[in-house]
Symmetry: C2
């Protein structure tokens, strides 16, 4: 008898969690759907059954075995320890505990061993970090990575279901000649792009950029990798992409990289030169695999390769990775 | 009495050329509007006068003083020498002559001296190369640049007026639940992005990427700069953006870079950390200046900075730069 709670059940990631749990036949005997008070009384459907959404309270975790948190860092900081104390294993999709040295930050294809000796809370990485580490791990096994220069193309979904809806509303307004009024993120989004909406921190990088670097290092277990990240929101609905320039300890050939991807879990090689077919968000959307391609030697550095990556922000970037963590916990 | 011809007068760049010539009070006593045979008989308006579009023929260049070519490399290769033989100065927006050692490739803010001793044809750079060299030249004056790692966010306009229209048609279809059918570029464009549509060349880079690197080196007069470029089309209408990682000979501080931009022609600094306001295509569109911002030290390299750039593809990336070249020629 497994009781599963989802905190943030009515959000974009919450909806994907339900879908992924169902699709992967995760053993859910009872589902506890939790959200903010304003969603209380609404209903979700899971495996054909109506599930009432309850307000997030300490009492809600009684009898819960696994709790997926996806309702922001503030709620995780308050309620994840409560869920843990009630006996639940917590898989937390927020940034609250990711850099805590006592909390494993896990991408199951990359660092499953980090789950050993967890203390009841496992952190699910930032979406860009999860997607990129799946693509980087097979290369890191060929030669240690020294430096990454990353430029992202991030979708609206990373800012939640309302941002996805607002992108569509703004775009419709633009096409029909009406004024474009941003209602969720700060800047116009219709046919526009902008520096990631997280606040700029003291080093001049925004919160997202700092997370991506810190989390890639923690997941790969390589505190010494130099990482330069620029995070940009583009008018795409739900898949993140990135250009990644990778400097290795030793020169890695594009053919070696392709062979490594061909044998790797969670990665799909899309690298067709003749048809100009490479990773694209529309093909990454809904896919479990991270798409990788445009693998080529960097002419400006003897030990560097370039790579283009697209991955579903809501799946590998959030819900799928969280469920994979839970699956790994259950099999232990 | 100055007679100006525009080859490709009915295209996206042609329309901008007319608008820029007018706005900058370029001395046009007679305008010869040339296009393919299928546009013959149509009319354009310039400074309130109707101008009949003529078919592109060798005879059309009689009496022409300055000819702007923007109808693709094939037509430039055939007709630019004819226009030159007829006595016209040619400003060519195609790639036909850009890498010809006898042809200056000019961004007037960057390398105006390259115009000296021209042989009647001056090449207007690739849009990304023009926009980026305006941003890079003030930094190159602080310290020689050693290496560039570039990721672009390129708009539909670079593929012409039909691609801009098709992006809007596809987006409307997507929003209304109709099938999205690409009619100009190969891949779906509505809420999607893809590797640049130019063909992949032997080195694994597409034509656009190779142009960007080659032309930046030629414009900056620095054959030794190492350049890694990844060109991506994003669902934006008419401004190109880029993340640029710049490695210098000596460490350049963000403050030095900001001061250099503040005093530079053709550049506008948009770098507001507190309001998260940085270069965006919607603000670059219609602007003569290239917007630069997100200037910060690269934590992964002691002598590198990161930069984000947005510039109007049809203006500084094409028509404006071409007219600026013609202005410089006229004042000689």
């Amino acid at each position: 008898m497994v009781t599963v709670a989802i905190v943030g059940a009515t959000g974009a990631v919450g909806a994907e969690l339900l879908s992924v749990l169902d699709k992967r036949r995760f053993p859910v005997d009872r589902l506890v759907a939790l959200a903010s008070a304003r969603s209380e009384g609404s209903f979700l459907t899971f495996r054909g059954n109506k599930v009432a959404v309850q307000a997030l309270t300490a009492e809600a975790f009684a009898g819960v075995d696994i709790a997926f948190f996806s309702a922001g860092a503030t709620r995780s900081r308050e309620f994840a320890p409560i869920a843990k104390a009630a006996g639940a294993l917590v898989v937390d999709n927020s940034s609250a505990f990711r850099m805590d040295p006592d909390v494993p930050l896990v991408v199951p294809e990359v660092n499953p061993a980090a789950l050993v000796g967890h203390h009841g809370i496992i952190a699910n990485p930032n979406c860009v970090a999860a997607i990129l580490t799946v693509a980087l791990a097979p290369l890191e096994r060929l030669s240690p990575i020294r430096r990454l220069v990353i430029a992202t193309y991030q979708s609206a979904s990373g800012a939640g279901a309302r941002a996805m809806e607002d992108l569509q509303v703004q775009t419709r307004d633009f096409l029909e000649g009406r004024p474009v009024v941003p209602r969720v993120l700060r800047h116009p989004f219709a046919f526009n792009l902008f520096s990631h909406d997280s606040a700029i921190e003291d080093n001049g990088y925004n919160g997202e950029e700092n997370k991506v670097g810190d989390e890639i290092r923690k997941i790969l277990g390589r505190e010494d990798i130099g990482i330069s990240t620029t995070c940009v929101r583009v008018p795409i609905l739900r898949a993140h992409s990135a250009v990644v320039n990778i400097e290795f300890e030793r020169a890695v050939s594009p053919d070696e990289a392709r062979a490594a991807f061909a044998g790797a879990d969670g990665v799909k090689l899309v690298d067709n030169w003749t048809s100009n077919h490479f990773p694209m968000p529309n093909e990454a959307s809904g896919a479990d695999e991270v798409l990788v391609g445009r693998i080529r030697k960097d002419p400006s550095h003897p030990r560097a390769l370039n790579l283009f990556v697209s991955g579903d922000q809501l799946l590998k970037g959030a819900a799928l990775n969280a469920v994979q963590i839970a699956e790994a916990l259950l099999t232990r």
